[in-house]
């Protein structure tokens, strides 16, 4: 018999009449059919709540299927009609006493879903009984019910002693009960302000024993809870990891990835490098196996692999081929694979990687192709020996004349020029053939940088720049900044060729444009050029700081935090959970005598410290950038965050005088958002080295005006 026929819009009035009809109804088939119609309408989103009294009346019918449908109805509508829910209480009371454990559990489970105070009040007593029920099925249902209750009324759960009862359930003889009790405790601990789950080794050891007999989901809950064990001795961590390791062979990827999370976490507390490297060896094969699951799980696996290999580069270092993209992989799998490929690329496999990337660059999906092209450029920067071949590959791609491929190539070629100055200038001619097709700001800015940088070698550099300048005022700030600097470079390198352009650009930048960065940069060039051309030359054409793909590395503090969240959403987005989940407790490595010193320096283990450490680093960053003289000193392809972290990693002695000066001006701007990490990211991205030096003067517009008057070529 098919229920599909019930899937049609029903009129409330008709349904009510049907439910209340007193025609002969053997085996309640009519009532069942009507209830099915109501459930179908509920599914379709039609409001059935006004049928409440009539549906509740059906509760008395001694048919399980009917009962379940009425309960479903209650769960959906009770909140809106609390008075009606009360009518159901007597039935619930009877059911929790039922001799059949399935009925007892059903009643408890359903009552937990009904968020009506009076129902909740009636739940407390039976729930306490059910937690001690002789049947494990009822006990495991009761355990989850405590978590439900906690979401409704925290104080009630705490005051009624349910937490202690849950804790007792951790040593229940039945593994399903243990697993659900653990899950409930973990969730309560994650949401409560003053309850924090902490497991000692004795409890942890019991839980691990229960692992063997649990359902796969139960195993996941237990493994998850092991994140709340803080090993006090390295031996504890090793033993625990050793006992969890067999889970890596489980068919369910949730079990595997959660086991990976716990093992990676425990490695922080191991003392011997040998133990760590043994564990790493065990982690590689199951991570690869994740790639034979469904595409969604593959994606989850890939995003997590990207985290794990950043912390432990020995994992998967010889398995790059696994990450080559298949033509019919979904796009999200391809993109994630590409990132891992780039990270695993080294001197030995670069040949293969490059030929793969060339293949991908001819595919259909625009984003994927762009990323492939970009990766070729990054590869050149990462591995010097392959730079020549990467440049050739990029030139080939430019010949295809596919617009976005050309633009993407130019952006990365700029970085190659930065990294290897005076090696590949011969290709500039080819690049210049494509000037007319550039319509993306990033590509334009890159091309303009190249022209400015090699203004003395490109014969018609002045004409090229003049062409770009034609639309100066309509360009984005990125392009305008590039144009400004390139023009000044041209002028310094070839004064005669640049003398018509420079005043034009400076005038625009200082008078016509609202962007303060651009304006300030305009002023500083202006002053430099008008007071001391030699100094201007020294500043503008100074040697540029070294770039490297080290800057792609994730902020180690963030990485450390994300590793504690392997398998979760935040590990997929590579974002700390606190940034997108409200009321989420941050996790951090809890210090213990066994905790290894982290390689990014002492004093930053605690999550709570990370903001302040970022804050103080930001001044280092200023310091470093101010020392360089090149506005585009950073490699454009990189994420602002990465770039920022990279420049703050070297532990240089900060320049104190300046430091305080910068911090001050910084704080003034920041005011409301001090301590807000995002703020700094944006700020630093927009920042340019000239900016800070002129903050005090640029405030007085008239001073700038004077300079303008006295500027004379």
């Amino acid at each position: 018999m098919s229920d599909a026929k019930f899937f049609q819009r029903g009129k409330i009035q008709e349904l009510r009449i049907e439910l209340n009809s007193d025609k002969k109804d053997r085996g309640y088939t009519r009532k069942k059919a009507t209830l099915k119609k109501i459930v179908a309408n509920m599914t379709m989103g039609n409001d059935m709540s006004s049928l409440y009294p009539d549906v509740i009346a059906c509760m008395a019918i001694p048919v399980l299927e009917v009962k379940k449908m009425v309960y479903l109805f209650l769960i959906n509508y009770a909140k809106g009609k609390p008075e009606m829910a009360l009518e159901a209480i007597s039935t619930f009371r009877r059911d929790v006493e039922d001799p059949n454990p399935l009925i007892r559990a059903l009643a408890i489970r359903t009552m937990g879903y009904i968020h009506v105070d009076k129902v909740t009040a009636c739940l407390i007593q039976p729930l306490r009984h059910c937690m001690r029920d002789q049947d494990p099925y009822v006990r495991k249902t009761a355990a989850v019910c405590v978590a439900k209750l906690f979401m409704q009324d925290r104080h009630l759960v705490e005051n009624a002693g349910f937490i202690d009862q849950l804790r007792e359930m951790l040593v229940d003889s039945n593994p399903s009960v243990v697993a659900n009790a653990v899950a409930a405790l973990t969730e309560i601990s994650e949401r409560s302000d003053h309850i924090q789950l902490k497991l000692n080794m004795a409890v942890a050891s019991k839980l691990v024993t229960a692992l063997n007999e649990c359902s796969e989901w139960g195993q996941t809950y237990i493994l998850e809870s092991l994140m709340f064990v803080v090993p006090q001795e390295p031996g504890d961590a090793e033993m625990l990891a050793e006992r969890i390791a067999p889970r890596l062979q489980h068919a369910n990827s949730a079990v595997v990835l959660t086991a990976v999370k716990v093992i990676v976490y425990l490695m922080n507390y191991m003392s011997k490098d040998e133990d760590i490297s043994n564990m790493c060896k065990k982690l590689s094969p199951p991570l690869v196996t994740l790639l034979s699951s469904g595409p969604e799980v593959q994606y989850v696996g890939l995003r997590n692999i990207l985290l794990v290999i950043q912390k432990h580069p020995e994992i998967l270092k010889n398995d790059i081929k696994i990450f080559f993209c298949k033509y019919n992989d979904p796009i999200y799998v391809k993109m994630a694979k590409l990132e891992i490929m780039f990270r695993l690329a080294n001197e030995h496999n670069v040949e293969q990687v490059l030929s793969e990337l060339k293949e991908y660059a001819t595919e259909v999906d625009v984003d994927f192709v762009r990323k492939a092209v970009r990766s070729i450029g990054r590869l050149a920067v990462k591995i010097e020996s392959t730079a020549q071949r990467c440049v050739e590959a990029l030139l080939e791609l430019i010949q295809t004349k596919v617009n976005y491929v050309v633009q993407e190539s130019i952006v990365v070629i700029k970085d190659i020029f930065r990294k290897y100055p005076n090696q590949y200038e011969s290709i500039i001619g080819v690049l210049c053939e494509n000037l007319d097709n550039l319509d993306e700001p990033e590509a334009k800015a890159a091309m303009i940088w190249i022209i400015g940088q090699y203004a003395d070698r490109i014969e018609n550099s002045d004409e090229l720049l003049d062409d770009f300048l034609y639309t100066f005022l309509e360009e984005t700030v990125e392009v305008q900044l590039a144009l400004l600097t390139a023009t000044v470079k041209l002028f310094i390198k070839r004064p005669t060729a640049g003398q018509d352009l420079v005043p034009k650009v400076l005038k625009w930048a200082t008078e016509e444009v609202d962007n303060p960065d651009l304006r300030d940069r305009g002023y500083i060039y202006w002053r430099l050029l008008s007071t001391d051309v030699a100094a201007a030359k020294a500043v503008v054409l100074s040697e540029k700081p070294h770039i490297s793909t080290e800057t792609d590395n994730m902020d180690p503090v963030l990485l450390e935090e994300l590793l504690l969240h392997i398998a979760s959403l935040s590990a997929i987005y590579h974002k700390a959970p606190t940034t997108f989940i409200p009321h989420c407790k941050p996790r951090f490595l809890i210090p213990s005598p066994a905790l290894r010193r982290q390689n990014y320096g002492p004093g930053r283990l605690m999550h709570s410290d990370s903001y302040s450490s970022v804050h103080s680093n930001s001044s280092d960053h200023h310091q470093q950038l101010s020392g360089s003289s090149q506005p585009q000193s950073s490699s454009s392809q990189l994420d602002p965050l990465d770039e920022f972290m990279a420049s703050s990693t070297p532990a240089k002695e900060p320049h104190h005088q300046r430091l305080s000066y910068h911090e001050q001006s910084f704080d003034q701007v920041a005011e409301a958002s001090i301590g807000n990490r995002e703020y700094y990211d944006q700020k630093i991205n927009a920042e340019n080295p000239y900016r800070t030096d002129t903050t005090s003067t640029s405030g007085t517009k008239s001073g700038g005006g004077d300079d303008l008057m006295s500027f004379d070529l």
Binding site: S2, D3, A4, K36, V39, T43, M44, G45, V63, L64, Y71, L72, K79, P101, L102, R109, Y113, D135, P136, Y137, V144, N174, S176, N180, N212, S215, E216, W217, T220, P246, R247, Q249, H250, A254, V256, L257, T258, V288, T289, S292, G294, P295, E296, V297, V300, K321, I322, F324, K326, D367, T400, V402, H565, S568, L569, A571, I572, F580, P582, C584
Partner: protein, 426 residues
């Protein structure tokens, strides 16, 4: 954990909607429809809007969607979605719009059972069938009679098997199914070749049998000094995964595979190997673009396995450019025709004997195109099945069954290799 579960059809109509937590409303269902189902360019199986995350899996003509507002375990949620599909298939044969609509009340019952407050609970179809059945009368009787048995089953250490199974004839069938993945470069080099194997078992065994299972696993055999001489014929397994029933601790300590099987069909293990793969087919494509109006194909395919074996349902899909007007081709075996909808020539050979080779020659005529983007040359892909052949060389050495009644059991083994992702670039 999971706050709500929805099942949609392709039009975006909600077929099943179940909320498990109060942090969401039913109306959120519309957001998924707008953001994903009506969106032609979906680039991720996970979408987060505000603090609500939508996880979706597509199956047949359905979207199975789980929602959460928490930093939930993404692997767990996807695995659970897969499990919903499997339980559905086990119950209804097929899990599609029709079967969901025809059984929606039952599906609600199941969803109430397998997810509690968004936490996946016992989801073994075998156990669920004991107390949630399509014929409600039967289920009621079952529940009255042995509810205690059911609850112990649903929470016990062997939740996948009931204890009262009886067969007159005790039999076990093992199917070793290997999917070979191959990526061959334009130059004919193997970029990657690996095998993803599955060992499927159909157990029709009475009582509570303890099984031991042995493969020609290199690690295991090299451990055993008695077996030294046989080691030439072993397979190096990169990694393997087991069904819930296999005792993982035991495998970890001495690499023996022991288990109490569920009743009927299940996947005992999955394995992966990349060492010494025997590629069943070699393909040598020569594709030349003649000017802008013609492409010439010469595709040679050769069977690499023993001449005593046959491959079935061999299909080669050979891509053609988007602007192909027509194709003429001839083949030395099977049938080949141009399928415009797939932009490819599909060459089917029903039976392909080992060691033989066949050839396709053809020409594609192209219409003139205004834009000059080059043809991306997607790879040739291949599909096939070869019986009694394993690409990895894996063999089943034994299956032992121990049961307290000490009955005799008959065991059967079958091998098959099929194409996974078998792609040849040209």
């Amino acid at each position: 954990m999971i706050s709500a579960l929805f099942i949609y059809n392709q039009k975006g109509e909600v077929l099943i909607s179940r909320l498990y937590r109060q942090d969401l409303k039913r109306s959120i269902a519309d957001i998924f429809r707008i953001q994903v189902i009506s969106n032609t360019d979906v680039r991720s199986p996970i979408i987060t809007l505000g603090s609500t995350s939508f996880f979706h899996v597509r199956h047949e003509n359905l979207y199975i969607v789980a929602l959460t507002k928490w930093n939930a375990n993404a692997a767990l949620i996807f695995e659970f979605c897969y499990r919903v599909i499997n339980v559905g298939r086990s119950y209804f044969g097929k899990f599609d719009e029709e079967s969901v609509k025809a059984n929606f009340v039952l599906i609600y019952e199941l969803l109430d059972e397998v997810l509690d407050f968004g936490y996946p609970q016992n989801s073994e179809a075998d156990t669920l069938k004991m107390y949630i059945t399509t014929e409600s009368v039967k289920s009621e009787r079952a529940i009255k009679e042995d509810s205690a048995k059911i609850t112990i089953q649903a929470t016990g250490a062997t939740s996948w098997r009931r204890s009262d199974v009886k067969y007159r004839k005790n039999e076990a069938f093992i199917d070793v199914i290997e999917s070979v993945n191959l990526l061959l470069s334009t130059q004919g080099n193997v970029l990657r070749a690996d095998v993803a194997g599955q060992i499927m078992m159909r157990a029709y065994l009475s009582g509570t049998p303890e099984c031991k299972f042995g493969l020609n696993d290199k690690v295991l055999l090299e451990k055993d000094p008695n077996n030294r001489r046989k080691t030439s014929n072993t397979v190096e397994i990169d990694d393997c995964q087991f069904h819930q029933c296999v005792k993982l601790g035991k495998f970890d300590s001495d690499r023996t595979i022991s288990f109490i099987p569920p009743d009927g069909e299940f996947e005992l293990m999955r394995y992966r190997t990349s060492d010494n793969i025997n590629l069943p087919f070699r393909v040598h494509p020569v594709v030349t673009e003649i000017g802008k109006s013609k492409i010439e194909y010469k595709i040679l395919v050769k069977a690499n396995f023993s001449s005593k074996l046959n491959a079935n349902n061999v299909v080669l899909t050979i891509p053609t450019p988007l602007n192909t007007a027509g194709v003429t081709c001839s083949v030395s075996a099977g049938k080949a025709k141009y399928v415009p909808a797939e932009n490819s020539i599909v060459w089917k050979i029903a039976r392909f004997q080992g060691q033989s080779e066949y050839m396709l020659t053809g020409e594609a005529d192209l219409t003139a195109m205004t834009h000059k983007k080059a043809w991306s040359r997607p790879p040739i892909s291949m599909d096939f099945q070869v019986l009694m052949f394993t690409s990895s060389g894996l063999l089943v050495r034994f299956l032992k069954v121990f049961e307290k009644n000490n009955y005799q059991s008959v065991k059967w083994v079958r091998y098959m290799t099929k194409a996974g992702n078998y792609q040849i670039r040209f």
